[in-house]
């Protein structure tokens, strides 16, 4: 591979899906994202005030074409997330349109820009360049480690999680998350000018809590606005599909929230979708949020 060739040339056939995935991590109007390219795919990282970080994983299998040329290390660049999303939006066609919205993304351009170009469209060509920046080093290491030998995690229906977090706005306080093994349940609690407690019980017959793993009671507090950022912009397709969102509490109370966003467009045949329409896992974008706990909370143990 020529060191002068682009680091990445890839093609995406469902821009709307990519937009949905990136929108999920837009909790502010102006956010600087760091994009990391590798042979495995594209990762976009945003963070806020060392307390909240989000990552969007777009594996190479999401792309109909993925040519990675960056032999030395992983190229990283900074870009404005809002600008990128708005730009991608101009390429996407409304659902049901017969023309595909295939675009080619290329990096870097002659001046280290991110280049986007519509392909396969008969009548017009849309071309965009986005300036990039040298990314700052991430100030805080969000190295997520498991809390112990048994993971502390639960998977809950995405719509229910969003509803609960939206309800927790009312108390106007930070939110306490309590996991307890017996009875197996998750509790979200806010105590402000009023108190609200939302309990998710892990029963076999309801499918509210799809999975649950906990061997001891733990409790941590998180700032409401950071917790809210993890669900406030979940794409409506995720709410409609209502898969599970997985929450894991790691060492020190670090909270990891994972969502799955479908990037597929069922009407277009795709090499990774089989004839039955079953979405291979690779047609899913992974979203991860990391939320630092409030510092003065100590684990409540039995």
């Amino acid at each position: 591979m020529s060191s002068e060739g682009p680091d990445l040339v890839c093609e995406v056939d469902n821009v709307q899906g990519i937009v949905d995935a990136l929108t999920a991590v837009r909790w502010k109007r102006q956010q600087d994202a760091v994009v990391e390219l590798s042979e495995h795919g594209v990762v976009l990282i945003v963070e806020e005030s060392s307390c909240l970080q989000a990552k969007v994983y777009l594996q190479r299998e999401l792309f109909i074409k993925y040519e990675y040329g960056g032999a030395q290390g992983r190229p990283r660049f900074g870009v404005s997330l809002g600008l990128l999303v708005n730009c991608l939006n101009t390429f996407s066609v409304p659902a049901g349109g017969r023309s595909s919205s295939t675009i080619e993304i290329r990096y870097p351009g002659p001046d280290m820009q991110l280049l986007l170009k519509s392909v396969d469209s008969l009548d017009a060509c849309i071309y965009a360049e986005i300036r990039t920046r040298i990314p700052e080093t991430i100030s805080w290491d969000y190295n997520f480690e498991p809390a112990g030998t048994t993971p502390l995690s639960f998977t809950v229906k995405s719509a229910a999680l969003k509803e609960a977090i939206d309800d927790l706005e009312w108390p106007g306080s930070s939110v306490q998350i309590i996991l307890q093994p017996d009875p197996p349940s998750v509790t979200f609690k806010g105590e402000g000018h009023g108190d609200l407690q939302i309990d998710f019980m892990y029963y076999v017959n309801t499918d509210l809590l799809i999975a649950f793993s906990c061997d001891r009671q733990v409790s941590y507090r998180y700032k409401y606005k950071f917790l809210q950022a993890t669900t406030s912009n979940i794409p409506s397709s995720v709410i409609r599909d209502n898969r599970g969102s997985k929450l894991t509490i790691g060492r020190g109370g670090m909270l990891k929230v994972q969502h799955l966003v479908s990037v597929a467009r069922p009407s277009i045949p795709h090499p990774h979708v089989d004839s039955a329409g079953y979405q291979q896992p690779s047609r899913i974008a992974y979203i991860e949020f990391f939320v630092k706990p409030e510092e003065d909370e100590s684990t409540i143990n039995d």
């Binding site: 309800d167 009312w170 009023g194 108190d195 609200l196 939302i198 998710f200 019980m201 809590l209």
Partner: protein
């Protein structure tokens, strides 16, 4: 106190809260073994709503002791009812002990989520209890909420106050010269005459109570009551969603009016809940009485005099900006007096300027004596049913006559618009048609 409800009762309960929240800010809760009462009073103390639930309304209802009471903010309860009602399996309310600082509200959702809210009780609750005896009201009517909503559509949606003028229905058909027929009730928009900007829509609607109402009772002299539209609409939508008719009791200007749902043919005793909305009415009558209206000074000092005892409270209307002179500038256009030829009674009077002049009492009387109904441009009305005043039919009437005979005809024929312009729901019979509008009305 502990109660729990499920199914349709939750929907009704949510509607009650929604209506209460449109009237006042604080919810006073009074629970006794025989009933649960919710009250609210609005901040200007001109509207009071109470809802009484019988124990049968609930799946579980227990009250310790004689009476338990507390007060919470309605906004907080509205927050907890943001959960879609259809997803709630069970709602329970608990006050662990009589002077607990928080009331616990728990929602169990079909999805398996359980949401428990602790709402702080107001420290110094302003729990007022008002009870008015419905049988003491001489007049009332019953109407289907959607019918009254349909009538209200004719009024500007931002209208704040409305006047209902009720007259006695004639039992005999009127004679040919007086084809007004049975339009015994008038709904009229009330616009504060002291407000500078009067570009709003004025509406007058005459209706036949036998066609529009399910029931109508009024005998004697015409009376009018002017009250707030916001609370009326809140109560209307409450009754409509509960699928009950609304009964409105009134007496006269200045006396409070009372609204209640009318459950079927009985007196509602078989229903598990009941509600009462009491609204203060304006002191000042819109009808031209023998004397010009009661002194408005009483109205301006109402703020201080609302602390009445528990029983019959006279809610004086708060009219902070009333002019020194009576704001009774709006004379009724229509003739509420005797049949034509038999004297004028109220007589046909000019419609005074709204918001442009403040006439003293002498001037008002002056204007009444003006026999030619030449209405100057300044005094033109902005009603949406304009009429040429020059064709007052009973020109022979004595306009200076101030005494009033018994009312028979309720409307002056000159008020009728052409049949094809009339968007009134009542079919027009063979009234006289109004002459075409003089040009200077058209710009209004």
């Amino acid at each position: 106190m502990e109660l729990s409800l499920s199914g349709n009762a939750i929907k009704t309960f949510a509607r009650c809260i929604t209506c209460l929240a449109r009237v006042g800010n604080e919810l006073a809760i009074q629970a006794s073994p025989s009933q649960l009462a919710f009250h609210t009073l609005n901040s200007s103390r001109s509207a009071y709503q109470s809802i009484i639930f019988k124990p049968d309304f609930f799946d579980v209802y227990t009250v310790s002791g004689n009476q338990v009471q507390c007060s919470v903010l309605l906004k907080a309860i509205c927050s907890l009812l943001r959960t879609p009602i259809a997803s709630i399996d069970n709602l329970s309310v608990k006050l662990p002990y009589p002077d607990a600082s928080k009331v616990q509200w728990a929602l169990e959702c079909y999805s398996g989520m359980r949401k428990t809210y602790w709402i702080t009780c107001n420290v110094e609750p302003d729990i007022q209890h008002l009870s008015l005896d419905r049988t003491k009201f001489p007049s009332n009517f019953v109407v289907r909420p959607r019918d009254l909503n349909r009538l209200l559509v004719n009024f500007q949606s931002s209208l704040q106050e409305i006047t209902i003028i009720a007259t006695e229905q004639t039992s005999l058909p009127s004679d040919a010269a007086n084809e007004i027929g049975g339009k015994a009730v008038e709904l009229r928009s009330y616009i504060d005459p002291t407000k500078e900007n009067d570009s709003s829509l004025h509406t007058q609607l005459w209706i036949d109570p036998t066609e529009e109402f399910l029931q109508y009772t009024h005998t004697g002299d015409p009376v009018d009551v002017t009250f707030g539209v916001k609370e009326l609409k809140a109560f209307l939508s409450f009754c409509e969603s509960c699928e009950v008719d609304i009964q409105l009791y009134f007496e006269k200007a200045g006396e409070p009016i009372l609204m209640a749902p009318k459950f079927g043919l009985d007196d509602g005793s078989s229903s598990t809940f009941d509600s009462t909305l009491v609204l203060a009415s304006m002191l000042i009558s819109q009808l031209r009485e023998g004397n010009p209206s009661e002194p408005p000074q009483a109205a301006t000092t109402t703020h201080g005099q609302d602390e009445h005892g528990a029983s019959q409270a006279q809610h004086d209307r708060c009219i902070p900006n009333v002019s020194e002179h009576p704001s009774d500038h709006t004379r009724i256009w229509s003739d509420l007096s005797a049949k034509s030829g038999s004297g004028s009674g109220i007589g046909t009077e000019e419609r005074q300027v709204q918001g442009e002049t403040n006439l003293n009492a002498n001037q008002q009387r002056e204007m009444q004596r003006i026999s030619t109904m030449q209405i100057s441009k300044a005094a033109s009305t902005r009603e949406n049913e304009p009429a040429d005043p020059n064709i007052f039919h009973p020109m022979e009437k004595d306009h200076a006559e101030e005494a009033r005979d018994g009312p028979v005809s309720q409307r002056h024929p000159s008020n009728w618009v052409d049949a094809d312009e009339d968007d009134d729901d009542d079919g027009d019979e063979d009234e006289m048609c109004v002459q075409s509008t003089p040009p200077y009305y058209e710009e209004h």
